[in-house]
């Protein structure tokens, strides 16, 4: 696997003081107090042990109940839910359980950083499907059909998407589901940003007719409840797949932290209000960011979810990395070059609007100055 060139840039950012950062992949909210307080209490009560490999049964029941109430999704907490150390682990387990050497994996690109490398670590073959702003960075059924001549075994879909902010309506997902059946694929659906869907209701892939049997549904607490550092995610799917994933999980991770699991239970119990408030706040920042980007000449489609905008910088003539490096040096604004998300990310930047409105305003004053200086 090639070493990540992006690391050098990251070190440059982290070594610099007073940077305004539009480069973060996590909420700027601190975990709500009731959740933090529950964790403190868990420690006071002496909950410091391992849990069952699959996670606390109480948490699995709560997750199952939550998915049922929220989306009408039915997962048996005993057999079909696995609590993991963040969605990252759940994703890794899914691929390890499913991939045999040489299996093809469909990955829409630009894509989240870990999909390709983990596919390769498992001996699989990433098949990158090009997405572009003309389609709002979405894969279409046609794309899937076209790439299926490479005989893939599974497909990965992440929506709302990191880094592009693209998401899919129910209708669009139905069309994708039809292709999944036609080509007999398994779907790994990473829906960690589901609560940040702005223009329509989020539809979990597993709720589509016939999809539950062939989908591993991945979700977690990091983005919805601002709990990135707690490392709690979960996978839901057919019992045989979850059982296979649990086998790997029990040897590699044993279980997720009991303290974080208890905090996650509290999040499901009382976090809804904060989630709705957070979503409205992000939605307003989205409008600000997208209109400002287009105003300063960096063409940007309107993302439907997550907290990322993915503008094009082609007009400036700079590469993504050069743009990001110069912007950092001249104006102390940090953004992530699109190439961090695969070669198809060249010509784009990932702008995170998980930052206060005041800081966003200042960042755009600086970016505008920078873009003008290039002319």
């Amino acid at each position: 696997m090639p070493p990540s060139g992006i690391r050098v840039f990251f070190d440059l950012v982290l070594g610099m003081k007073d940077v305004i950062s539009l480069g973060v992949g996590e909420p700027d909210f601190i975990t709500p107090w009731n959740i933090r307080e529950r964790a403190i209490y868990a420690i006071e009560e002496g909950h410091t042990s391992y849990t069952s490999n699959k996670g606390l049964i109480e948490l699995r029941r709560d997750i199952s109940k939550y998915l049922k109430q929220r989306y009408g999704l039915d997962y048996d907490p005993e057999e079909e839910v696995l609590v993991t150390v963040g969605v990252s682990e759940a994703f890794d387990l899914s691929l390890r359980a499913l991939i045999e050497r040489g299996d093809g994996v469909l990955i829409p690109e630009p894509s989240y950083v870990s999909y390709g490398p983990i596919t390769m670590l498992c001996g699989g073959k990433p098949i990158y499907m090009r997405t572009s702003p003309d389609n709002g960075f979405k894969v279409t059924p046609k794309d899937i059909a076209a790439y299926c001549d490479k005989n893939p075994k599974l497909m990965i879909l992440n929506y709302p998407n990191n880094p592009t902010g693209a998401s899919y309506s129910k209708k669009e997902l139905r069309a994708i589901a039809a292709e999944i059946v036609r080509h007999d694929l398994v779907m790994i659906s990473d829906e960690i940003y589901c609560d940040l869907t702005y223009d329509f209701d989020h539809t979990p892939f597993a709720t589509l007719p016939g999809m539950k049997e062939r989908t591993i549904y991945l979700n977690g607490f990091s983005k919805s409840f601002a709990m990135t550092g707690w490392r709690i995610g979960y996978a839901c799917g057919p019992a045989n797949l979850i059982s296979g994933m649990t086998k790997i999980h029990q040897y590699t991770m044993l279980c997720a932290s009991i303290i974080s699991q208890m905090a996650a239970q509290e999040a499901l119990k009382s976090g809804e209000r904060s989630v709705q408030e957070m979503k409205r706040e992000y939605a307003r920042r989205r409008e600000f960011v997208v209109s400002r980007l287009n105003e300063i000449g960096l063409t940007c489609h309107r993302p439907e979810g997550a907290f990322y905008a993915f503008p094009s910088i082609r007009k400036t003539g700079l590469s993504s990395m050069d743009f990001a490096r110069e912007l950092l040096k001249k104006e102390k604004v940090a953004v992530v070059p699109g190439t961090a998300f695969g070669s198809l990310g060249e010509g784009y930047l990932r702008i995170s609007y998980a930052s206060s409105y005041d800081r966003l305003k200042e960042a755009f004053v600086r970016m505008e100055r920078f873009v003008k200086s290039l002319r």
Partner: protein, 161 residues
Amino acid sequence: MNQILEILEKDARTTPEEIARMLRMTPKAVRAAIAKLEKDGVILKYKTIINKEMVKDEHRDVRALIEVKLTPQKNVGFDHLAERIYQFPEVTSCYLMSGTYDLLVVVEGKDIHTVSSFVSEKLAAMENVRGTVTHFILKKYKEDGDILKQPERSKRPAISL
């Protein structure tokens, strides 16, 4: 709550142009909506939240919560008496309560002596006031949703995927 109100409640300095951008409206429509909210009395006024723990305000340095027991009056109940009480400039808040007393009155003054004499000479001496209990506030930690200390800077790394 209306999103315009939500934005202004967080930061009253947000301009109609900025709100328009956030909500995909025209500045004109936002201005009209705000004007209506003002006219209807939904928006009463725009203020600044000052951390009074950090500035001396010699006229309002001491604050007390006063429990007031009343004898209700025919036809008007407590409203008439409450009105007589909340008109005093020393009174910053006034609530009708359930429970063992009737009005909770928040009073500010330059020192303990001033507040006590206001209570004994004005409040307690009023007709139909049956009794008062005064609680002086020693330290303010949080007021109307705002924690009275500088928020800590975010500790998250400046870049992550």
